[in-house]
């Protein structure tokens, strides 16, 4: 018998796959955004409006990750962006290997921006690096301002937090200042936007950030 010390994180194989994928995408000039949120936070609705606003300026594709069905991919294709449906076969998150296979499903066309709409879940997607260049999370007003306290890892790994459905804020006791303070405490570098896909509030700022992220990825 022989003992070998490893001292590796349990997901080390995924971290390595993700790093390789990220380097390949950097080489191609394709920014992969990992979009994460609870079910019903408004991921697909945010994407619909964003794609409509930006599709003449950049080539965008979406990978929809769901446990089952293709309703989200159908919604995205209606707006005129390329979409593939990735089924996770019951798994609660996407990892780097699944992301690579979904990217292959998009074909050889060069894309400036590929959005991975991850499985609706604030826990496991935060633990698995997909190879994305940027991680963006949504928190909708009806979910409450205490989410950063309950799901700290998601807020820690995200580059951007978008608070969605601001148009319904008058009906909920959502404390924006408290929510932002909680998120910043976990992650001082997080960029925060407040948007409503219904009224268009905040989309100019979010889209300006996205355009500059796509541009910077190509350098």
């Amino acid at each position: 018998m022989k003992i070998i010390e490893l001292k590796e994180t349990i997901t080390a194989s995924n971290d390595r796959d993700a790093a390789v994928l990220r380097a390949e995408l950097k080489e191609k000039g394709t920014l992969l955004v990992n979009l994460m949120a609870s079910p019903g936070a408004g991921k697909t609705t945010l994407l619909e409006r964003t794609i409509r606003d930006l599709k003449d300026e950049m080539n965008i594709a979406v990978m929809e990750a769901d446990v089952d069905s293709d309703v989200d991919a159908v919604r995205i294709e209606k707006i005129g962006a390329k979409a593939v449906q990735a089924h996770t076969d019951g798994m609660c998150h996407m990892d780097a290997g699944m992301t690579r296979r979904a990217l292959e499903g998009l074909g050889d066309e060069p894309f400036d921006l590929v959005v991975l709409e991850n499985v609706g879940n604030l826990i496991c997607p935060a633990e698995f690096d997909t190879g994305a260049g940027k991680c963006v999370m949504l928190l909708s007003v009806p979910e409450g301002d205490d989410k950063p306290l309950k799901y700290p890892l998601m807020f820690s790994v995200s580059d951007v937090l978008i608070i969605t459905k601001t148009d319904v804020a008058p009906y909920f006791d959502f404390d924006f200042d408290a929510c932002i303070a909680r998120a910043k405490k976990l992650n001082p570098n997080i960029t925060i936007f407040k948007v409503s896909a219904k009224t268009g509030e905040g989309f100019e700022e979010w889209e300006a950030w996205l355009k500059s992220a796509v541009k910077n990825w190509k350098n």
């Binding site: 018998m1 003992i3 070998i4 994180t9 194989s13 995924n14 798994m91």
Partner: protein, 115 residues
């Protein structure tokens, strides 16, 4: 579901190590699992016992899970305290300005292999 996803990666990491080090059989895998890592150890072991049978190099590998205690630091009074017992509120000064120091990790500490 979550445990199975982690097992898949654990198996892949171990198989890569076995190939590099030319190991034929792993007989024990020791993991350090933080108290607040979110891993359910019973379910995790069940998943492992199902999964290892499919991989010749892993099939005789027993899983040894060692729990690492979670510790939280209070930014107000600068003391540390056990996370599981007291949660986010410091038991010494009542402050909520607290940060988890350790306890959410999951590390492959070592493996035992046949010579």
């Amino acid at each position: 579901m979550h445990e199975m996803g982690i097992i898949l990666h654990l198996a892949k990491t171990l198989e890569e190590t076995a190939e590099q080090e030319q190991i034929k059989k792993i007989t024990r895998v020791t993991l350090e699992v933080g108290e607040v890592s979110g891993i359910l150890t019973d379910y995790f072991t069940d998943c492992w016992n199902y999964f290892r049978r499919k991989h010749p190099v892993l099939e005789s590998a027993e899983l040894d899970l060692q729990t690492l205690p979670a510790v939280t630091f209070c930014g107000n009074c600068e003391k540390t305290y056990p996370t599981v017992q007291y949660g986010r509120t410091c038991p010494y000064c009542g402050s909520g300005e607290t940060w988890l120091l350790k306890g959410n990790e999951c590390i492959i500490k070592e493996i035992e292999v046949e010579d």
